[in-house]
Symmetry: C2
């Protein structure tokens, strides 16, 4: 007889987005004249810019002619895109990332959800709270946690992100094997300094852990002292995988294209 | 210390596509004047037809204007597509499938690879041989098999598809919980009759098993007596999930769009 993956029954409804909506509504009611930058929910409203529209039309015309039609592309993504990513997102910021370390995909949600499958199921997890719910939920479904008790899953080391630490968790005393970090953070908007990120790289080296660094929102960084990539930190190549998305920038809102860097 | 998913180390290189290439080359060398319809490797060469090109241009223009821009769509897919699928692919062939039972996706490879995650890891698998390697490999990575011995994984009930049974395996004596079927078959091109499919539905009911029916190549069927969908068989709604792809038809070659039906 067929049986379901019982781990799914552990999934508790995430209250994160409902909680954000409640707080946003309360704030805007109390301060109707203050603008609110909504970093919580991921939907988008702005049209694609002219450069993207022209490129999509040109690509459609390519697919309309046998001479220029493209079949399945290289599994890692087209070289022209990987080379530009390596140059502009990394080399230009002093990070030694090669085009062959860039994996193009259809979105950071898929990438950050699927990546956990390459690791063992009995590893120790450290995940910030609050954070993008996909990190937790995919690990619950994969069987890396116990039951949900009072809104938290047994077996996860939660990294408290509160006003007391400006929403940037310090490295814990306890060891972990796989650590999720997201800066600028979804949903708090907090950013991590070079020193804070260096502490995480040092923690990963001491514990032989892997950092999963989600920088989907890096284009929102305005302070030039804040790193855009974990690879701006010495030694991060040895311990970190980074997720980047085009869908949060002003260029490509809502259209599925992202990449993962695995040095 | 981080550790990998050890199941990956069981993965043996699939020789299916290399074997197909070798046989095709030998045949075309021996019969240079005979046309060969290649159903093995999934790449495509034909351009998109005018209707698809026009629709892609129109959709691009929609995304270029704030008034018509679309953000993230409904998670199950847009209703206009699900309603047309339910009508033309199912109702028109006498299958009672509703639009709310259709799940639109970015391809049958992803769907047929991901679906196994909803089931327990200690279920019994039955998988045809030869077949699309994704069915086997995703179950190996999920830990549902033992080691690979002489090209076959321990723990899988292989359904022999040979010239002796015209490449349509009969239902086995042994029970299984999850059965993969693919008709028209990739790579053999074999199709299953109504009677043969009814035997599988009966087998699934007797064993309380689920059939995963991949009909990505249904548009190649020319014999009007051959079912295009498992749901043309009485009772299949109770036991079968079906995978369909637009990427194998003359309309949408190589562009990622597919759907899964879960009644």
């Amino acid at each position: 007889m067929i049986r379901i993956n019982e781990n799914y029954t552990k999934l508790a409804a995430s209250y994160l987005f409902a909680d954000i909506a409640r707080r946003v509504n309360a704030y805007t009611a109390a301060h109707p004249d203050r603008p609110v930058i909504r970093l919580g929910i991921g939907d988008v409203t702005e049209p694609l810019p002219a450069a993207c529209v022209e490129a999509l039309h040109a690509a459609t015309d390519e697919m309309a002619q046998r001479a220029t039609f493209k079949g399945y592309g290289p599994e890692q993504g087209y070289a022209f895109l990987r080379e530009l990513v390596a140059q502009r997102d990394y080399a230009d910021r002093g990070c030694a990332i090669g085009p062959d370390e860039v994996f193009v995909s259809d979105g950071s949600k898929c990438d950050s959800g699927n990546i956990q499958e390459i690791f063992a199921t009995d590893i120790r997890l450290a995940i910030p709270d609050p954070v993008y719910p996909v990190y937790v939920d995919t690990n619950v479904m994969a069987g890396r946690t116990g039951a949900c008790v009072d809104g938290r899953y047994e077996g996860i080391l939660y990294l408290e992100s509160t006003a007391a630490n400006s929403y940037v968790p310090a490295v814990p005393q306890a060891p972990a094997d796989l650590v999720y970090l997201c800066f600028p953070n979804n949903p708090t908007g907090a950013v991590a300094t070079r020193q804070q990120l260096a502490a995480w790289v040092d923690y990963a080296k001491r514990n032989r852990a892997v950092l999963l660094f989600d920088s989907a929102y890096e284009s929102y960084i305005r302070d030039p002292a804040i790193p855009h990539s974990i690879y701006e930190i010495e030694g991060a190549r040895d311990v970190a995988i980074e997720f980047r998305s085009f869908s949060k920038t002003a260029g490509f809102t809502g259209t599925r294209c992202a990449y993962t860097v695995v040095p």
